[in-house]
Symmetry: C2
Subunit: 139 residues, 2 copies
């Protein structure tokens, strides 16, 4: 059983076949999937799972903070299961696939804030860095 399911179970999540399958699909994920791709993978293991359930489950996982929703330029959202490991994203402008990257910490130093006179009254609580380019097969 995956760590993810274990953690969710102790938080009072009801474990059903559908939820297990969605969690399993996400668990082995290094290139993040769209909801539809998660559904496609899930169907291979549990043919009767519905798209709605996949969407609902992904939404719950996001709400619980176990999965991060990544959206890029009008394409379908992708779901990143590595919510607990700090990392950045490398996105292909061609096909939209997303890879996790872990640039050296010092490359990110000095980025944690935004000068007060550039904040326009906002509270800033996150800085996201996205590297964009073309993946090997789109090039």
């Amino acid at each position: 059983m995956s760590d993810l399911l274990e953690r969710l179970r102790t938080r009072g999540w009801r474990v059903t076949a559908q939820r297990r399958v969605v969690a399993e699909v996400l668990d082995g994920d290094h290139v993040h999937l769209t909801a539809d791709e998660v559904h496609a993978q899930a169907v291979l293991r549990l043919p009767e799972i519905s798209r709605a359930t996949v969407y609902n489950t992904l939404g719950e996982l996001v709400a619980l903070g176990e999965v991060v929703e990544v959206s890029t330029d009008g394409r379908a959202k992708r779901y990143d299961p590595n919510a607990h490991r700090p990392h950045q994203h490398l996105v292909c402008s061609g096909c939209g696939i997303i890879r996790d990257v872990h640039p050296a910490g010092d490359a990110l130093a000095g980025l944690t804030g935004l000068p007060a006179d550039e904040r326009f009254g906002f509270t800033v609580d996150e800085v996201r860095i996205v590297y964009r380019g073309l993946c090997p097969s789109c090039r």
Copy 2:
């Protein structure tokens, strides 16, 4: 006449009332608008303009590199007319509005690349930094 329209005209763009209005709406824009908001503003000046034309025009401006499409987390895309001025974005997690910000250049130093062993065969040609938080009215 705006610089934008002037530039487009010399690139062979046919200037129509609708396109002029869309360009004018974008021109005075510092908090970027969604396609629907652009349409709403445009209707004030030209009541018969259609949504389809606004979408088409925005799409062309993006293709011409005059406007940048900014999409944040499954919300409607927003259109940033400051394509020629380098800047970053400050996004409200509450309502989705976007402000341009210009953090000091040295805060961004060392960010221009991604180490080769983290590139997974991608060519990287852009690094985007997005500051997220809450705007004054959502806080």
